[in-house]
Symmetry: C2
Subunit: 332 residues, 2 copies
Amino acid sequence: MKKFLNSADTYLTDALAGFAAAHPDLAVDLENRVVTRARGAVPGKVGLVSGGGSGHEPLHTGFVGEGMLDAACPGEVFTSPVPDQVVAAVRAADSGAGVVLVVKNYTGDVMNFDLAAELAGDEGVRVETVLVDDDVAVQDSTFTAGRRGTGATLLVEKIAGAAAVRGDSLEAVAEIGRRVNAASRSFAVALTAGTTPEAGRPGFDLPADEIEVGVGIHGEPGRRREKLRPAREIVADMVEAILEDRAPGAGEEVIALVNGLGGTPLSELYLVYGEVARLLGERGVRISRSLVGDYVTSLDMAGCSVTLCGADAELVELWDAPVSTPGLRWGM
Amino acid sequence: MKKFLNSADTYLTDALAGFAAAHPDLAVDLENRVVTRARGAVPGKVGLVSGGGSGHEPLHTGFVGEGMLDAACPGEVFTSPVPDQVVAAVRAADSGAGVVLVVKNYTGDVMNFDLAAELAGDEGVRVETVLVDDDVAVQDSTFTAGRRGTGATLLVEKIAGAAAVRGDSLEAVAEIGRRVNAASRSFAVALTAGTTPEAGRPGFDLPADEIEVGVGIHGEPGRRREKLRPAREIVADMVEAILEDRAPGAGEEVIALVNGLGGTPLSELYLVYGEVARLLGERGVRISRSLVGDYVTSLDMAGCSVTLCGADAELVELWDAPVSTPGLRWGM
């Protein structure tokens, strides 16, 4: 394994310390592992909190800031944050208007965020939870009952974040988040496995000419392994899997995310996006907004995911609203 | 080799077609391989043009837009654009106020951009050239007489771009660009080699426990190979090499860029940034601005570069000026 690290033990702390040094407008509590805005909770605004195992950067820490998250709690690599961490994040994000938790559907996350929501409730904080489960590849998976939460998490955090800025109530922000998740579907393909600092070797074995179709963001198995094929064929299968599960309604447009898993060059992601755009065009599906890049990664895994979110005018307006975070920034 | 591609022959065209689909505010001439702003040259503003071999995305195509480049001309992977391409880009960028070419110091680029400047001059376009040669690792290199141009290219394009928006004259924009280059130094380390679609295998052989110290962005050899060491030791050598070559003057602050080469997770880049910040702090060098991410890549190479640019108040103000491109965006 070749990585920039001092030791596997200090990897996360060292990375968070560097993140803190690079972003003075954010506050990083290294001991409790909570990232918040340096200026604290925004008075009157519903707070938005997310978290999960590390290794998916910029998700979630990189999405803390104006227009998106108020706090993030990163666990160890591919490991849920503990309930105390989540509670600390909720406390930091609450200005009295309540807090929405965005939780990816993995057993550990669901359990720990549920417990944290209960504990925060006991402290008098009103909490709503949005569960993200957009990955159509498999029904249950290694760490998951039901579908996995992947690329749609970015869309939920962005759009619910904008709803909170707009002044929506706790229930309304949660409702918008759930609407985004319900309208989103994702599918991922891995060309190589990612390597965690702790294990020191690739998370799974993939022959030199094979790909994992439907892979999870922790390297969980997908639908099948197959020989590498031309991108247009791989992407056609990805888009097909998504549209089979949920085709946009008549006149509905989509927000399209082509997301790199960490080790794939940007030019290849654009190539994939070109195929997605062509395929959707052939089916009469209009892409109203798009995003191409590394947003929900799996360490250094080569591969990508495609997420399509059926979006009405309101969701597009919230997507377009100003955002200023380390990982996503426009309009301000 | 596992990549998302239809064929090695169509790789660049396919990637550019996807780029065009994703960015409707840009115009992509697939035949001539020139990327411009869809709205054309900005009346009265000095034009800014850059280009070079592909494989370094988002550089340069991803930096076309408000506050940065007016046009980019991508060559084949790791291959200079041809003079006709550069001339087409210059034509598109010129509104009558002249055009500044930002050229990385590689023999092919220098030759083709020089010829293009001459041809454009014959057409009546006033052209100034800014040569970028910030890489302190080696004096001459595989494709280079003198030092290689690497990470500082981003800084030159951003800061000269802002000077052009400010209304600076052709000569003044070029002068700002040269000042940025003169104040910038970079150093890169590779953990793995990148793979070009054409060759289909890693560009060089690096044993499983070794790193290339001082690598170029085309995989050119650096100063030495050595065993992988803790990040703090590697980064100390990188910062030392930079400061030995140019230490910031008394009271001078720096803009610090920690740039991923394509295959390294963001969390490791932050870890590296933390070491850079610590080392500079110990030497009393203040970082006024920083940027961490993949900006000047080498396909899927794992590794990173550090660039430090001594910056006075004017350069920092130009750095902070609004920019809106696919690869760099703030303030608007």
